[in-house]
């Protein structure tokens, strides 16, 4: 039963994700998030951080993994609350609309 529950959850999530993609909502959300992050200066902050990292590591030796490892946690942390709230709101709306379908 636990497994089935897990499966259910997984399935549910899968289904929801599928729905997101199918309706194009995921893309829209992605674009919205990107736009908002640029607006609020998140991108510039992160870029400055990148520069530091790169200067540390040396221009020639930077790898994707390095960058990802350094930047992603900082990026997640730097997202402003307003953006987060708005996005969550939109997701919830979507779920409310489509969950009962």
């Amino acid at each position: 039963m636990v497994v089935s529950k897990m499966n259910k959850d997984a399935q549910m999530r899968a289904a929801i994700n599928q729905k997101l993609i199918e309706t194009g909502e995921r893309e829209r959300l992605k674009e919205l998030l990107r736009a908002k992050l640029i607006e609020c200066g998140w991108k510039d902050q992160l870029k400055a951080h990148c520069k530091e990292v790169i200067k540390e590591k040396g221009l020639e030796h930077v790898t994707v993994d390095d960058l990802v490892a350094e930047i992603t946690p900082k990026g997640r942390a730097l997202v402003p609350d307003s953006v987060k709230k708005e996005l969550l709101q939109r997701i919830r709306t979507f779920l409310a609309q489509h969950a009962s379908l």
């Binding site: 399935q11 289904a15 790169i54």
Partner: protein
């Protein structure tokens, strides 16, 4: 064979182990389940059906479960953020590897060069406003020094390549032809214009040379930007009106030639700058008409007779009456034969005249009287200098329409002292 853990085995088919080792090709289509166990077709179909049913149930159930929903929402959000971060990382990495990552960095020294300027008198780039206004350039065509902001229009006209330059040039040519012509037959102009007073003929009126005589309202085509007032030799300024090409001839010289109809007292030093073009026009035409024209007001049309002073339709008495009406009791009828010096002309009377006369542009031409004599002969006209006498008749004046141009005033204005006519005449009593 491991027993089936799921309780799905229905009665439809029994689990039958495959004897062939499991390979990709052995797997019947649409049979791959999440558990990756190969099933036969029917069984997999059944499973699929069941799972979708469950899904539906689950989803509707999940609608009631807010915490789960919230968890899912958070998960989705986290996914999106991670996507963005990753995307950013890839961009940066590419920029680093392609070498354009650090391009937008400028050293602080050059940054200072482009700082926003906030000083008075300068714009944000630090440039001075109106810097080029005071600068002067030398025109390559005429070698004159021109202000920078006027350079382009000047060049246009100088080279003759602008839109208006050809028009101006044509006008100049036309006018210079006119001037040449007018100098040659000044006498004829006097005759022509005596009996043809009309505003329409103003345009044909010839312009005289400006050094001898002064134009009143006109725009000298040779200098399109001539100043508005023409200074008389003795400081007498007159307003010009561009539309009115009436040339009025004033001369300060003592001897009156045929072309100098007026002689006035320069000491009065009247400035006409305060008069508008309309008033000026009326002033001039009034004076001119009354010097050279019959002027008797016809009862029928209430207009002044435009014939010459020898007009047979009206008597001298009538003419005198009219003049007195307008100019005061000391007004004198111009005489045709006597030659007198007219050296005092009170312009204030004329100004009073203006206020009393109404003008309209219509012309009331008497038929051109070829038989009338040349009015270029001596005529006398004396006006009372006492302006208080000139307003004895305060009747509401009739609507007078005076027409004509002042061109070709070929008559001399000379005064013959005469006793003033009886005061307060009524115009309409005398006119029959």
């Amino acid at each position: 064979m491991p027993p089936l853990s799921s309780g799905q085995q229905g009665g439809e088919g029994r689990w039958q182990p495959l004897e062939v080792p499991w390979t990709h090709t052995n797997i019947p289509p649409q049979c791959v389940q999440p558990c990756c166990r190969p099933l036969c077709y029917e069984q997999s179909e059944h499973r699929l059906h069941k799972s979708s049913q469950m899904k539906m149930e689950e989803m509707s159930l999940s609608g009631l479960d807010n915490s789960k929903l919230e968890a899912i929402a958070q998960e989705i959000y986290a996914d999106l953020v991670e996507d963005s971060c990753l995307g950013f990382c890839f961009e940066v990495h590419r920029a680093v590897k392609c070498g354009y990552f650090f391009l937008d960095d400028t050293d602080p020294e050059s940054m200072k060069d482009f700082e926003i300027v906030d000083q008075p008198g300068l714009d944000i780039f630090g440039q001075v406003f109106n810097q080029w206004k005071s600068k002067e350039c030398v025109c390559p065509n005429c070698s004159r020094s021109i202000a920078a902001s006027r350079f382009a229009p000047h060049l246009e006209k100088c080279l003759g390549m602008g839109r208006n330059s050809s028009r101006i040039a044509n006008r100049r040519i036309a006018n210079s032809n006119n001037m040449n012509k007018s100098e040659s037959d000044q006498e004829d102009n006097d005759d022509i214009n005596d009996n043809d007073w009309s505003y329409g003929s103003e345009k044909k009126a010839k312009k005289r040379k400006s050094d001898k005589l002064w134009y009143l309202p006109f725009q000298n085509p040779n200098s399109p930007r001539r100043s508005k007032s023409l200074k008389h030799k003795n400081g007498f300024s007159v307003c010009t009106s561009a539309s009115n090409t009436l040339p009025l001839l004033f001369s300060s010289s003592g001897e009156l030639s045929n072309s100098d109809p007026f002689k006035y007292n320069n000491s009065t030093g009247i400035s006409y700058e305060t008069l508008g073009p309309e008033e000026l026009r009326s002033l001039l035409t009034t004076l001119i008409f009354l010097f050279q024209q019959c002027g008797v007001i016809s009862e029928h049309t209430k207009k002044m007779c435009t014939r010459s002073l020898r007009c047979p339709q009206h008597t001298d008495e009538q003419r005198r009456t009219v003049r007195i009406y307008f100019l005061g009791s000391s007004a004198v009828l111009p005489e045709v034969e006597s030659s007198l010096d007219n050296d005092s002309f009170d312009m204030t009377d004329s100004q009073a005249l203006i206020s009393r006369l109404q003008w309209d542009g219509s012309s009331d031409l008497s038929p051109s009287d070829s038989g009338s004599s040349k009015t270029s002969e001596n005529q006398g006209w004396g006006l009372g200098t006492n302006s208080s006498e000139s307003r004895k008749t305060k009747k509401k004046k009739s609507h007078l329409s005076l027409v004509g141009t002042a061109s070709g005033l070929g008559s001399n204005k000379k005064k013959k002292p005469k006793p003033p006519a009886p005061p307060t005449p009524s115009i309409y009593d005398d006119i029959n």
